[in-house]
């Protein structure tokens, strides 16, 4: 039973590595599946700080509004997988993998007044900074919902003049499909709505209705009002940190760290075999599985692998060995103290378990704090470190134990030599 399990596990490990390296059927090789971070494939990231005195809930609201607007802008840049996150309390981090022209990208993100109200003849009426608020309201006339706009005093005056011009028939449309009496609401160069003006609006409070029948649905109205509200980037952003990583630098870093990782792993394998013989072999098999698990978790969770992340993985491999070393030292000790190999393996495991759990859990505490408080690269590092520790507890405790039990129960293999104990030591 145990034997069959061990054989199956060994096959799974080698098969898993084969699939990871060469790909199998519909599953691509793992190197194509892992999402690489900016530092490995090149790109741009910029951290911007909101220039505001708001605090608490108001600040939170302000930041998530800003985030939503920036996300829209970034998506229009046509880059794959941009990431916009709020960092700390008042900063926004925008990551643009593969962005070629850093400066253009950064400028597009940081632009504040992107929302414009434009007449059908392309005269600018007002911009987003003059919009005080936009919200949804019931559409009394058509049913359904409408958008209520409020302008500030400057905006109100401009809007009054524009609507007067329209009603007086002074505007001739230069845009195809836009009637003379329309006002185009343009966000980032895109017309998001072009309501028609029916009367002069003197007080800076306008209602946009869907016209026709039924009005806007609640969702349409909410989206449109959010766009109008948000288009006016609620706050000025200052660029506090930028990083541009050229694609060649990223690729070099990736290749180097993969080679370095391989050398490190081979060295560890050699050391384990040399010092712990058959126990080392069991540990090496477990380590192979461990590496697979860590990479597959990255793939399945869709987490991004960064350079510090690779460092975290390599460090955690070193620490994964630790769990094995604790067990093996213990098993050796038990053998030297005169127990049979079988008993020594069982009691060695039992005694080592609490040590492993206590020592790894304390490291996880540090990892969690690092993940919570860290930004960017530090987060990536903490994440792989934590995945690594959990996977290492599993492989050391479950997998290595299976192999060791098997070896210790086999008459041929359960010799002092194979457990790295000299006959003299064992008395």
């Amino acid at each position: 039973m145990k034997k069959a399990l061990a054989v199956i596990l060994t096959i799974v490990i080698f098969f898993g590595w084969y699939a990871a390296l060469a790909g199998i059927g519909p599953i691509a090789p793992i190197k194509d599946l892992i999402k690489l971070g900016l530092d490995l494939k090149g790109g741009v990231y910029v951290v911007m700080e909101a220039q505001t005195n708001e605090t608490g809930e108001d600040l939170k609201k302000l930041m998530s509004q800003t985030q939503a607007v920036i996300e829209k802008r970034v998506n229009q840049l046509g880059l794959s997988e941009p990431v916009v996150t709020i960092e700390g309390e008042n900063r926004i981090r925008v990551e643009l993998p593969g962005a070629e022209d850093a400066n253009d990208a950064i400028r597009a993100i940081g632009k504040t007044a992107q929302l414009q109200f434009v007449l059908a003849d392309e005269t600018l009426v007002l911009d987003g900074s003059q919009v005080k608020d936009a919200g949804i309201t019931q559409d009394q006339e058509h049913g359904g919902y409408a958008i209520a706009l409020k302008f500030n005093s400057e905006g109100s005056a401009a809007f009054k003049k524009a609507t007067t011009d329209i009603i007086n028939g002074k505007i001739r449309s230069t845009q195809e499909g836009i009637p003379d009496s329309a006002i185009m609401i343009i966000l980032d160069g895109q017309v998001i709505s072009s309501p028609v003006v029916h009367e002069v609006i003197p007080n800076g409070e306008a209602i946009i209705t869907a016209g026709g029948t039924g009005g806007f649905s609640e969702e349409e109205a909410t989206n449109l009002s959010a766009l109008i509200r948000g288009g006016a980037l609620p706050v000025e952003l200052k660029e506090v940190q930028t990083s541009v990583i050229g694609p060649t630098i990223g690729l070099d870093a990736l290749n180097m760290s993969v080679i370095a990782g391989l050398i490190g792993i081979l060295l560890i394998f050699a050391i384990m075999l040399l010092l712990y013989r058959f126990m080392g072999l069991a540990a090496n098999l477990a380590l192979l599985l461990y590496i697979l698990i860590v990479f597959w978790i990255l793939v399945v969770m869709g987490w991004v692998l960064t350079l510090p992340g690779i460092a975290g993985i390599i460090l955690s491999i070193g620490m994964a060995v630790d769990a094995n070393v604790i067990i093996f030292s213990r098993v050796r000790e038990e053998i030297v103290n005169g127990k049979t190999i079988r008993v020594a393996v069982a009691s060695g495991y039992k005694r080592a378990l609490s040590t492993i759990i206590d020592s790894q859990l304390t490291t996880i505490i540090a990892g969690v704090v690092l993940y919570q408080l860290g930004t960017g690269p530090v987060k990536g590092f903490a994440m792989t470190l934590m995945i690594g520790i959990l996977a290492s507890i599993f492989t050391a405790v479950v997998v290595t134990q299976l192999y060791l039990n098997l070896i210790s129960e086999s008459k041929k293999l359960a010799t002092f030599r194979n457990f790295a104990v000299s006959v003299k030591e064992a008395r």
Binding site: D101, E239, G264, L267, I326, S329, V369, G374, V378, A382
Partner: protein, 309 residues
């Protein structure tokens, strides 16, 4: 397989270890203070531009181009045949300012956007935040681990383990002060990792002391701690060795970013291995002397009988 035969009395020589540790820490930190620590641009605020110039250019010439644009920078060569340059300035150049400078360089050396390999820019406010966050992270992590150890062990182990952690962090600061190595964000991350790593090492020794306290009640505490350290010595060394072995290739082959991570880790792991042997247990011993014996002593008779088989 190697074993260490001779029992070394760590407790007896503990004052010597304290002296060496404190000496090393003070030496490095004082030198660091006097000369000033070497903070990276992520702490001071500033800009780094890494460019491929296509040929080896004169630093002086490039510098005068930069100065003409109002930028005071350090320039070093990098890459194969020194064709690359790394320009560092403590001025935080925003997008417009960078474009202006790059434009001037492009014009003078007949280059374009493609020759920019990497840019890093940090506003001055970022550094303070990083430092504050780092200190906060170390404190929170320490308190978290302290609580865990108090729950699983007892307070004396907890205090001793945290002392060892503080020792390791100070040792790293001393090393960086002594050799004037740049302190940057990756350094902070390494310090935080180390906080977790070093305590891992210490816990293994303490776990053994805890176990032996139940097994060998009749022994003197000093002897018991020495035995525990000796029993776990091979393992402590092995772990540090395997971890360092895994990192060294990365340190040698990795670029500047990765080196900023791996160097402090290597230093820290060495300090962590030393502190778990020479600092943590002796401090625990002192605490026991002060408060009159460990909590576990003389308890749990049953376990003793069972464990002896």
């Amino acid at each position: 397989m190697f074993t260490i035969k001779r029992q070394f009395s760590f407790i007896k020589h503990r004052r010597l270890f304290y002296l060496i540790s404190i000496g090393l820490i003070l030496f490095g930190i004082i030198i660091g203070m006097v000369r000033g620590y070497n903070y990276g641009i992520d702490f001071t605020g500033g800009t780094m531009i890494h460019m491929d110039m296509g040929r080896e250019v004169s630093v002086g010439e490039l510098n005068s181009t930069l100065r003409a644009n109002g930028i005071d920078a350090d320039i070093v060569h990098a890459g194969d045949n020194n064709k690359e340059v790394i320009i560092k300035t403590v001025q935080s150049l925003d997008t417009d300012a960078r474009e202006k400078v790059l434009g001037a360089i492009f014009k003078q050396y007949d280059l374009n956007e493609d020759s920019v390999l990497a840019i890093d820019q940090f506003g001055p406010s970022i550094g303070d935040m990083l430092k504050k966050n780092a200190v906060k992270a170390v404190l929170i992590a320490s308190v978290g681990m302290l609580i865990y150890i108090i729950v699983r062990f007892e307070w004396k182990f907890g205090v001793a383990a945290i002392t060892a952690v503080v020792h390791d962090v100070l040792m790293m600061l001393s090393f960086y002060g002594l050799f004037h190595i740049t302190i940057n964000n990756p350094f902070i991350a390494a310090v935080l990792t180390l906080v977790g790593y070093s305590i891992n090492d210490t816990i293994v020794v303490f776990d053994r002391i805890r176990e032996n306290l139940n097994l060998m009640k009749k022994n003197k505490l000093e002897e018991l701690i020495d035995t525990s350290i000796n029993q776990t010595l091979v393992r402590s060394l092995m772990t540090s060795v395997t971890t360092v072995v895994a990192i060294i290739p990365l340190f040698i082959l990795g670029g500047e970013t990765i080196r900023a991570f791996t160097l402090p880790l290597i230093v820290g792991i060495a300090a962590g291995a030393a502190s778990s042997i020479f600092i943590a247990s002796p401090v625990y011993y002192e605490l026991c002397l002060l408060s009159g014996g460990p909590k576990y002593k003389g308890k749990k008779k049953k376990i003793r009988g069972r464990e002896r088989d």
